[in-house]
């Protein structure tokens, strides 16, 4: 068998092979998480495959304090998303629609939390909270999360608002829609993809965050902090169960979103 046909085949399918390799690179860690959620490890560490078991799936909250920290993280992520999305959307509209003094300065200041090293910001925030005499816990975490999620929401919403034709709102006002109706019926629906993107980013960032949270949590323990803490003493399989469940939820949400968008497109064509 000569080498030439193989080379030819490789050359023809190079893009597909490269694509699949990249995809594997992205997905492999998730696959490992999933596979090891069905492991029954010997000892406390879930690092080597022993045998298949669904024990952890049957009892996801079997580890002390884990589900408490998970619920806390979800709550914080929920409220941080709401706070950052509402504030960020308003900031984005203000920056795009209005000309005011220091607009340029605010435009760049908004990106500061993105640019600042997280550890530095976390330490500084702690200094600030301590000096203010704030009680570390749920509220300090929430305040910190809203702060660093804001820049991402503003960026996502701003892009959308900038591409929006201001005549659409004029048309709405011309067609008997008052200011509130115009906002609810025209502005918001058109800006909503940007707002949704910002909100999803905010949720993911907040749920995930470890460094800033760890500095400013006091004795409160969020899910990432719990995982970090338990990794020193042993990793329960339930962590993989939660991780897998989150992954599946995310995939289902994205797929459903795309399915609905496609169906809308098709029904409009018919």
């Amino acid at each position: 068998m000569s080498l030439m046909p193989i080379l030819k085949w490789l050359r023809r399918n190079f893009v597909v092979i490269a694509g699949l390799a990249t995809l594997a690179y992205l997905i492999l860690p998730n696959v490992v998480v999933m596979v090891f959620s069905f492991n029954k490890p010997n000892g406390r560490f879930n690092y080597s495959w022993t045998r298949f078991s669904t024990d952890a799936w049957k009892d996801p909250c079997g580890v002390a304090d884990m589900c408490g920290s998970l619920s806390l993280s979800l709550q914080i992520a929920f409220w941080a998303t709401i706070g950052a999305t509402v504030l960020g959307t308003m900031i984005a509209f203000a920056l795009v629609r209005y000309r005011f003094r220091a607009r340029g300065a605010i435009n760049s200041l908004i990106f500061l939390p993105m640019a600042m090293p997280e550890v530095v910001m976390a330490a500084s925030l702690l200094t600030l909270f301590l000096n203010m005499g704030a009680q570390l816990g749920f509220w300090t975490i929430l305040i910190a999360h809203i702060m660093f999620c804001l820049s991402f929401v503003v960026t996502a919403v701003k892009a959308r608002v900038m591409s929006m034709d201001p005549r659409l709102e004029e048309a709405a006002r011309d067609l008997y829609a008052g200011p509130v109706q115009t906002f609810l019926r025209v502005t918001l629906p058109i800006a909503s993809p940007g707002i949704a993107a910002g909100a999803l980013l905010a949720f993911a960032l907040s749920f995930d965050d470890f460094i800033i949270t760890n500095f400013n949590a006091g004795s409160t323990v969020t899910f990432p902090m719990f995982v970090w803490g338990s990794a020193q003493r042993g990793t329960p399989v339930q962590i993989n169960v939660i991780g897998t469940a989150m992954f599946i939820v995310a995939v289902v949400v994205v797929t459903a979103g795309q399915f609905i968008a496609n169906r809308r497109k098709n029904s409009a064509k018919a």
Partner: protein, 383 residues
Amino acid sequence: MTDSTAGGDVRLTGISKTYGSFTAVHPLELTVPQGSFFALLGASGCGKTTTLRMIAGLEEPTTGTVFLGDKDVTDLPPYKRPVNTVFQSYALFPHLNVTENIAFGLRRRGIKSVQKQVDDMLELVQLGDFAQRKPHQLSGGQQQRVAVARALINHPQVLLLDEPLGALDLKLRRQMQLELKRIQTEVGITFVHVTHDQEEAMTMADTVAVMSGGRVEQLGAPAELYENPKTTFVANFLGTSNLIEAEVAERSGEDLVVTAGGAKLRLPGGRCSAPTASGGKLLVGVRPEKISLAHRDDEGAIADGRNRVTGRIVDSSFIGVSTQYLVDSPAGSGLSVYEQNIERDTRLVPGAEVVLHWNPAHTFGLDAAQAKDAGVEKVEDAA
């Protein structure tokens, strides 16, 4: 919204708009009669769109009052005015389908059963099969018709159209001009149409107001504006005019006799908008298609009583229906003449000595104190 037929005119009194130190619209008096098709015509930046937006309520006038019928609507926000707009880029709501776009105004006024009216509108603009489409799935012409339907369904007292055909190609534009005219005749609503296209304004409108530099230069029926322009801007912006600098010699009866480069020209006194004291300067105007061209050898055959100017052809271009000549003469250089291609005189080539002659009744007089080339289309604007 019942049509209050009595006195449904749009009246603008002393209306103006300034942005900082820039005056977009100078104080302006304008009355648009109920049921008419009214065009605001002018080059970009002449204040026509600002005027329209002040009627719509999208722009707040700096001074003056907007009346709809007898009602002062100056301080009403746009959503409380019985006026609807067709925007330049149509501004269709991208997230709503054609039906919902058209029903938008009715729904905002709390009308629940809209289907019948939407269907009627779709039929009026001939888009029945597209009710469920989204705007981005329609062609430019179809979007334009949706925009018209979305405005008309509200039975506004006045429909405002802001360069509604600007984005369409030439052929479609002609078609939509006739379509809009048909719709206007059918529904009988007052249309105020803003455009920079003089042909469009003349084809569609009953009355045209020519605007320039934030002022109305002249207002009238298209034929009246074309035949009897009162300013050089109107003379040049609507079609082409030959403007010849002349001096008033005498008055003979109804006519005015002027001299220009040695030639004596006559024009009806009533068609002169300039002071007519003897020795005064004025600009004598005549449209290129009113002029006949004769070779100098045939001068004797020209009937008495016609205005004549001698000259030499410098350029000629064959257009098909007509031939356009450029003639230099002592009275003025670069005079345009459009000759119908009926019997072509082969001697009329560049370099030939010719006589331009026309009926004095087609001559008009303008004040010489204004810029002679005001309103002449710049090369880069020419279509």
